[in-house]
C-alpha cells in the first residue's frame, strides 16, 4: 500500500470527474486545450439571442447596452462559464502582460546558472516587481539550439549579462520586444537599450582602496573569459586604479573550460600580496592555490571576492557583494516602464564592500 517508488497509487473514484457544470466543458477540462470546445463569446451570444458585439459590450461595460440586457448577458455568461480566450485578446491588443527573463549564458549549459544564488535572487526580485505592476514573469531558457522562448508570447525580455553581438538581443529586437539588460550592453549596436548594472566601478574602487589601506601594493585580479560589462568594467577599473598609483596590475583569466585553479596558480606566480577574484568559484580557486603554495591568509596574501549571492551574514572572505534581488527588481521596473511608454534611464545598483577575515592584517 505504501511504496517508496516514484509511481504511487491511483486516486479514488474514477468516472466521477465531470461533476459541477452542465455545458460541454467536460472534455475541455479533461484534456486541456485540444479536446472539447470551450465556451466562447459566440455561445453566449447564441444563448442570449444577441449579437456578439452586444455581449462583448455588456460584459466589458463598453457600448450602449440597456441595464436589463447587460445584466441578462452577465447572468448567462456566468451560467455558461464563459471566459474570454486570452490568446485572442493578446492577438487583438498586442499586449500579453508577460515579460520574459532569458536565463542561461550563451556559452555555458543553459541551466547550470539558474541554480546559482544570483539567478534565484534575481528571479525573485524581478518576479515580485513584475507582479506588483500586474505583469507575469516567465523564465525562458536561451542558448545555442534553443528557440523555445521565441514561441512564447511576451511583451519584453530581460537579458542577463549581454555579450557582444548577443543573438538573443538581436532576435528579441527583431520581434519587436522591448529589451532591458542586466549589465551594460557591450555591443555598440545595442547602445541605447535601457539597462541595469551593479556599480562595479565604485565597488572595485572600494575593494582596491580597502586592500591598499591594509597594506597591499601588488593587487592581482582573477578574471574570467566572459565578454560582459561586469568583467570588462572590473578589469578596466582595476587597471586604471593601479596605473594611477604606478602599481603593478596583474590579471589572469580562466580560459573557457579551464579549471579556475590553473588560472589562480598563474596569478599567484606573479607574487601578488592581494588578489581580488571575480566570483566565488574563483575565490575558492585562489584559496586552494594559496594553500598549495603554503601562503597564509591574510598574512602572506589578502583575498577579496565578488559575491553574487544575497547579502547575508558576515563572511570569512572579504566580499564585494552585489544585490541581485534589487537588480532583478530594477530590471523588471525598467522594462515595464519602457512598455508603458516611459523612456527609462539606465539604473545603477550599488554594491557593498563587506570586510571579512581575509583582509584583516596586523
Amino acid at each position: 500500500m505504501l511504496t517508496q517508488k516514484v509511481l504511487g497509487v491511483k486516486g479514488e473514484e474514477d468516472p466521477a470527474m465531470d461533476g459541477p457544470e452542465d455545458t460541454g466543458r467536460t472534455a475541455a477540462a479533461g484534456r486541456g486545450a485540444e479536446g472539447g470546445r470551450t465556451v466562447g463569446i459566440k455561445d453566449v451570444a447564441r444563448a442570449a439571442g444577441l449579437s456578439i458585439t452586444t455581449v462583448s459590450h455588456a460584459l466589458n461595460g463598453k457600448g450602449q447596452v440597456s441595464t436589463r440586457t447587460r445584466e441578462r448577458v452577465r447572468q448567462i455568461a456566468e451560467e455558461l462559464g464563459y471566459r474570454p480566450n486570452p490568446a485572442a485578446q493578446v492577438l487583438l491588443s498586442g499586449r500579453t502582460g508577460v515579460i520574459g527573463l532569458a536565463a542561461g549564458h550563451q556559452s555555458s549549459e543553459p541551466w547550470e546558472r539558474t541554480y546559482r544564488p544570483y539567478y534565484a535572487a534575481f528571479t525573485a526580485g524581478a518576479m515580485v516587481e513584475a507582479v506588483d505592476r500586474d505583469y507575469a514573469l516567465v523564465v525562458v531558457p536561451v542558448g545555442p539550439g534553443t528557440d523555445l522562448w521565441t514561441r512564447i508570447p511576451m511583451d519584453g525580455l530581460i537579458v542577463v549579462d549581454p555579450i557582444a553581438g548577443d543573438p538573443v538581443i538581436d532576435e528579441a529586437l527583431r520581434r519587436g520586444l522591448a529589451v532591458v539588460t542586466d549589465g551594460r550592453p557591450i555591443d555598440p549596436a545595442h547602445a541605447g537599450l535601457p539597462y541595469v548594472q551593479s556599480d562595479i566601478v565604485t565597488g572595485i574602487g572600494l575593494v582596491m582602496d580597502h586592500l591598499h589601506d591594509a597594506g597591499a601594493r601588488r593587487i592581482g585580479l582573477l578574471s574570467g573569459s566572459e565578454l560582459d560589462s561586469f568583467t570588462l568594467d572590473s578589469e578596466q577599473t582595476h587597471a586604471e586604479w593601479c596605473a594611477a598609483r604606478h602599481l603593478p596590475a596583474a590579471v589572469e583569466r580562466t580560459a573557457p573550460g579551464e579549471p579556475a585553479r590553473d588560472a589562480a596558480r598563474r596569478l599567484l606566480a606573479t607574487r601578488p600580496d592581494a588578489v581580488h577574484a571575480l566570483n566565488r568559484t574563483y575565490g575558492e580557486a585562489v584559496l586552494a592555490a594559496a594553500r598549495e603554495l603554503g601562503l597564509s591568509i591574510p598574512g602572506d596574501l589578502m583575498v577579496t571576492v565578488m559575491d553574487e549571492a544575497e547579502p547575508g551574514a558576515r563572511p570569512a572572505l572579504t566580499t564585494l557583494g552585489l544585490d541581485p534581488r534589487r537588480v532583478g527588481s530594477a530590471c523588471a521596473a525598467v522594462l515595464i516602464d519602457r512598455l508603458t511608454g516611459a523612456e527609462p534611464e539606465p539604473v545603477t545598483v550599488p554594491s557593498r564592500l563587506v570586510p571579512g577575515e581575509s583582509t584583516r592584517r596586523g
Copy 2:
C-alpha cells in the same frame, strides 16, 4: 560620475540606435508591441508576389511548393526579418507551450512563500523538467484579488497545496486548463485530477518508529491550520500510529495568525517526551518553548521536524526531509504527460528521515 544612488548615468550615443536593419523595425524595436508594425507574413507575401498560403507553406515545408519558390520565399523572409506572431499561432493551434505554476497560498500573502526554500527548489525542478520537454514555465501569483494569471495564455497549471474548494483549481478547469496538484486534492470535486505528493504516510511512520525506538512513548504533533493533504495525512498517520500502539496522541494546531510558540507551549503542556513539528518554523517554536520550560534536548524531549528545503548536510534536528525539486519536476512531468494525451497516474515522491542530534538519546 559615480553615484551610489539607484539612478545612474545615461548610456553613450543616443540617436544611433536603429542600426543594422533596413526595414521599418526601428519603431518596433523601440516601443515594444504597440509602436511600429512588425513585419508579418502578409508583407513577405507581398514582397515575394505570392499568396499568403504559399509563403506559409514554403516556410513551414508543408504544401507543394517548388524548391525554387521555397528558397526565394525563405530568402525574402530572412531579409525582411519576418517572424511568425506567436499570439496568432497560439490562437490558431490552441497550444501555448507554457505551463503555469500557481504560487502563493490562498490564505497568506501571495509571495511570502515564494522565497521559502520549498518554492525555490520546486520551481527549479519544475522549470528544468518543463524545458526538457519543450515547455516554458511561468510562475503566476494567485490569491484573493489576483486574477492576473487568468489573463495569460497557458496550457496547464500546477497548483501547490490545494485546499478544499480551491478556487484556483475551479477557475483553471473552467478555462479548460489541465491541472496537476502538488498534494492530493482534498475536495471530492477535484478527485480524479492527477497529482503528485510527498510520501507523508511512510515518512511520518518512519519518524514515529524512529522516536519510538529511541524510547519515546508520548509523541506529540505540532500541526498547522491549513486544510491541505499534507497536514491532514500527517495528523491522521500520527493518530493511527498512536492508536495502534495504545499510546497518547497529542496534537496542537496553530490557529491562523497565532504565533507558533503559543501552540508549542500548549503542546508541551501535555508533557510529551517527543514532538514532531510539521515545518521548520514550528520546529523552532518547539525548541523555544522547550527552552522556556528548561527541557533538555534530547534528554527531556526529543524533537523532529519536517523540512521543506532541499536535502542538504546533516542537520542538528532530526528531520523528515521532502524533496521539493523532485516534486516540482514530477508535477511538470505529469502535467505535460496530461497535455500530450497521456492519462498519468498519481505520483508519490519519497521523503527521507535524516537522524540528527535532537533524537540521539543515551
